[in-house]
């Protein structure tokens, strides 16, 4: 039978949580019925919006109803929090600004973390596809269980599926290519293009805004070259020209006719704005497991479930596996929800990381909530007398609880609003980052959704319940009767063993968790503050790529020839640029000066273990261009370049010599990379030593700048980094010349991220600085809260003993002995906490293979421990000293 479309999943889950059990199914059913009607009349998007609004309304009203019921049941009628309660709450907050600031700040960070994580996980991992019946759009792939990833060379299977598969319709495929869009002035701008079957447009059911979409006839080889463009580029590149259809544009080497414009927001299949037909000559046979990487999609046929489609696909797969090569027989064809092929496949691989992240966020929240509750409780308990008076004057328990709830709600509400603001800023920062690296998939909406707001409201209510209602219930419980009984002789409340345990847990968590966070934050600050130590403003850099337009070819000879021609193109570019006026020199490298890879290497005749070193590949002009001095031996020369790649020598830097060769003569020594398999890597001879470059940059995670350089010449790359040193003109001013030159050599030569090294470096450090800020904010708030929590608990427990201290002092006990006994108890608790925390820190570090603390982080552990001890002792000493000042007569009278 048909699997009917359902209302959006997320609000349904929220709704089920918000509604009481006896009403849940009924409301779910009624809203489902209405949703389906609305969907049929006004479309999926309108129906989904309506459903979200209903969810918001139901959740808020039922949550309020529930709170009112609880309070009514406690009070018998007069307990609904009123506007006056809220006003009083605000006044109480103003009366204790310290508590308000610390508690509010902590809660805001807690809410920001929780709501941010919620928004992030939902939009990235559990998105709704914003297309008509998006839940019926699927991706088809072949999963390789041995390598734990998707096998994407699907052309052979795709053809079979197209012929045989009945349970999936509008079957299509796409691949993403990058080409230059050539402007009328002859400058090239690389653009991403979806090479897609025409069925992709049928699948989405989105009509074009102008002209037409791709049609099947466009896919035939020899058909005229056509392109469909997206709304955004129609506006930005073509100024929204109404007569755009029929116009020709140049993409790479070929002219394409624009046949249609898609409406705003259409970015299917991932984040595309240009679509050209995917062409495969059906007469050319394709062997299984060869051909380009394809993503295959389709829509479940009417009345077919995903399980049924999977069954059919598996049957075809078994048939294919029996005929095909043995080494592909283990691949498992599968039908998954469309987004899963891009998102959850990755998430599965890194599921432990995500699980850990979620755990840490939840854990931080618990710490935050616990601390704020402790703070508020410690204050609520000091108000036992006031509460007792109000009870004696006739206030019900519910009335008092509702008052305290309102007070807490003022605090948690303001904190939640601030937290939501932080989330909004964080999401925008993240969105900018994604946009700057090419934009995210069309199904991701990084804004604050209604769901996130709803979730935040629930957090605020929950926060108020934890922070207000629980302490209030305790404060108005058994202790209250006692307080009424002893009214006039001061307040008396007890913090039992639970609180001792809390102090210990508090200290332990801070000692264990904070050092790695501080370390990470410190590293980021260090990264952000570093200066590269050379004039980055003189260099223009660009990432070049020669597109080998071998149309869906599996022909290795053609591919080889294309590779050779691409390299010739690069060589020509370097030669031409070098002769331009104002150019000091040009170099081609694998990465920016501060980039490159890291791997373990061993040195021959060295006793030490293998070490991680940085490496990058440069050409013969690199050291000269950046002014890097050769300290011993020589730089790379033309003779080195004449050798085959695996026999070429290497050059190492000064730190490499000091740390791996112990400062001895490195020239003539050999190094090689460790291999994970049976294959043995070749030895490379060291022919020179250069100074550490860039001198000012140390990757704190690597803790060393030791590095080595390999040699590759400009004609040996088809994609790499080109850096030009300029004199007498700025990199920005030279960029158009570079683009024009590249285009005149070959329209398939693409230049990405053409900008000064200064800008590139700033971009790098900006990310580090932002991360540092986030880490500092989180660990700072945890530290502050822990310190405040410990302070509150300590002063509270010691305060309770003030009378005991007074009596002991009245009976002639020596000040020193009394103080020692009080502090000894506090010290015992604190030390136990530090001990547990240290153990946890070591265990966590061992579990993470030493990565967590990175050696130096362990040095922070004693510091954090000492800090917690000092805070605890100061908190204990104050009340103890006040106790000693109590007049003995007063203490005895009170008794």
């Amino acid at each position: 039978m048909s699997a009917p479309s359902r209302p959006p999943r997320l609000p349904r889950i929220l709704l089920r949580h918000a509604l009481p059990e006896d009403t849940r199914d009924v409301v779910d059913g009624d809203l489902h019925e209405l949703y389906m009607t609305r969907r049929a009349t006004s479309g999926a998007a309108a129906a989904a919006t309506w459903y979200w609004l209903q969810t918001l309304s139901f959740t808020m009203r039922f949550t309020l109803d529930r709170v009112a019921r609880v309070i009514r049941s406690l009070a018998g009628g007069d307990a609904t929090p009123s506007g006056l309660d809220l006003k009083l709450g605000a006044r109480m907050l103003a009366k204790s600004p310290g508590l308000t600031l610390v508690g509010g700040f902590g809660m805001a960070i807690g809410v920001a973390l929780a709501a941010g994580a919620y928004a992030f996980f939902n939009s990235y991992f559990y998105p709704e596809l914003p297309l008509h019946e998006g839940d019926r759009i699927v991706a088809l792939g072949k999963f390789d269980p041995k390598r734990q990833r998707e096998d994407e060379q699907l052309l052979h299977d795709f053809r079979v599926w197209q012929r045989e598969l009945r349970s999936v319709v509008d079957l299509g495929a796409f691949l993403t290519i990058q080409r230059n869009l050539v402007s009328e002035t002859g400058q090239g701008e690389p653009i991403k293009i979806a090479e897609m079957t025409a069925s992709g447009f049928r699948l989405t059911r989105v009509p074009p805004l102008l002209g037409r979409t791709l049609i099947d006839a466009d896919e035939r080889s020899g058909a005229p070259r056509v392109v469909v463009i997206g709304y955004d580029v129609w506006q930005s590149q073509f100024a929204g020209d109404q007569a755009i259809v029929g116009r020709e544009i140049r993409i790479g080497r070929d002219a394409h006719t624009i046949v249609g414009v898609m409406p705003r927001g259409f970015r299917f299949p991932i984040n595309h704005q240009y679509w050209i037909p995917l062409r495969f000559d059906p007469r050319v046979p394709v062997a299984p497991g060869t051909g380009p990487n394809l993503d295959v999609f389709g829509r479940l046929a009417r009345g077919v479930t995903r399980e049924a489609a999977q069954a059919e696909l598996s049957a075809i797969g078994r048939h294919l596996a029996a005929e095909g090569p043995k080494e592909l027989a283990h691949l498992e064809p599968r039908v998954v929800p469309y987004v899963d092929i891009f998102v959850n496949a990755e998430a599965e691989n890194e599921s432990t990381t995500y699980a850990l992240m979620r755990f840490l966020i939840a854990f931080l929240l618990v710490v935050v909530a616990m601390n704020v509750a402790v703070l508020v409780y410690a204050r609520t308990v000091t108000r036992t007398g006031e509460i007792a008076v109000r009870t004696a004057l006739g206030a019900t328990r519910g009335r008092i609880v509702s008052q305290l709830f309102a007070e807490a709600f003022v605090l948690s509400g303001i904190s939640a609003a601030v937290g939501l603001g932080i989330v909004a800023i964080g999401l925008r920062m993240f969105d900018d980052y994604i946009a700057s690296s090419g934009g995210g998939p069309f199904w991701i909406d990084a804004g604050i959704s209604l769901g996130t707001i709803l979730y935040t409201v629930m957090l605020a209510v929950l926060g108020a319940v934890i922070v207000g209602v629980f302490p209030a219930l305790r404060a108005t419980g058994a202790q209250l009767r006692e307080a009424i009984g002893s009214m006039g002789s001061g307040t008396k409340a007890r913090l039992g063993p639970t609180w001792t345990a809390l102090i210990i847990a508090q200290v332990a968590i801070a000692v264990a968790i904070l050092p790695p966070a501080l370390l990470k934050g410190g590293q980021m600050v260090q990264l952000a503050l570093q200066k590269p130590g050379f004039a980055t403003g003189e260099y223009l850099s660009t990432q070049f790529l020669v597109d080998r337009d071998v149309e869906a070819s599996t022909d290795s000879i053609a591919a080889r020839a294309a590779m050779d021609s691409s390299r010739a193109i690069v060589k020509k570019l370097v030669e031409r640029i070098a002769t331009e006026p104002g150019v000091v020199g040009v170099t081609v490298t694998s990465s920016d000066p501060w980039g490159g890879g890291h791997d373990r290497v061993e040195v021959d005749r060295a006793d030490g273990p293998s070490e991680r070193v940085g490496y990058s590949t440069v050409d013969t002009s690199y050291f000269r261009l950046f002014g890097v001095r050769v300290l011993a031996g020589r730089g790379f020369g033309a003779a080195d370049a004449a050798l085959p790649g695996n026999q070429r020598p290497v050059i190492v830097n000064r730190s490499f010599v000091t740390e791996l060769i112990g400062g001895g003569d490195p020239i003539g020594r050999r190094i090689r990379y460790l291999s994970d398999g049976d294959e043995v890597n070749p030895w490379h001879t060291i022919v020179g030593v250069v100074e550490d470059f860039p001198a000012g940059i140390v990757n704190p995670a690597e803790r060393s700048v030791r590095g080595m350089y390999h040699l590759a010449m400009p004609g040996e790359w088809d994609r790499a980094k080109l850096t030009i040193r300029l004199r007498g003109q700025t990199p920005e001013a030279f960029a158009p010349t570079l683009r024009r030159t590249a285009m005149s050599i070959d329209p398939m030569l693409q230049l990405n991220g053409t900008t000064s090294l200064y800008a590139t470096y700033r971009e790098n450090t900006r990310a580090a600085a932002q991360l540092a800020l986030v880490i500092a904010l989180i660990s700072g708030s945890v530290l502050l809260l822990s310190a405040a929590g410990i302070h509150a608990l300590m002063s509270f427990t010691v305060n309770q003993r003030r009378r005991e201290i007074g009596i002991r002092s009245a009976l002639g006990g020596s000040t020193r002995r009394i103080l020692t006994s009080v502090l000894a108890r506090a010290t015992r608790q604190l030390t136990l906490g530090v001990g547990i925390g240290l153990t946890m820190a070591v265990v966590l570090d061992l579990a993470a293979g030493g990565e967590l603390m990175n050696g130096t982080g362990l040095l922070l552990v004693p510091g954090t421990a000492a800090f917690m001890l000092v805070v605890g002792l100061i908190a204990a000493a104050g009340p103890a000293r006040r106790g000693l000042r109590v007049q003995p007569t007063e203490a005895l009278r009170a008794e």
Partner: protein, 110 residues
Amino acid sequence: MTHQGLGEFEQMVLLAIAHLRGEAYGIPIVEEIDRRTGRSVARAAVYITLRRLEEKGFVSSWMSDPTPERGGKPRRYVKLTSDGARALREARQVAERMWNGLDPASLRAR
């Protein structure tokens, strides 16, 4: 309002149920109120009120069989109990007693 009295909104919900004669569940009740009053009421408020009315003993409910167009969920039909009917009649009498003998001129704004 006394403890067992009826609020204005409760009256509206009870009257809608009475109008629907055995066909009353969440959706038609909301529609009935919307249609007769010309006001759009919050759906959630109707469900909360229904729950409260059932607790007060003014309505009783029973579940239908689950259907696929409702995502496999049942409907909860409601009908007035004799207490509910009596409460409605009382509310009407109270209102009528207040209206009785009122000179229309006294409603004119001055």
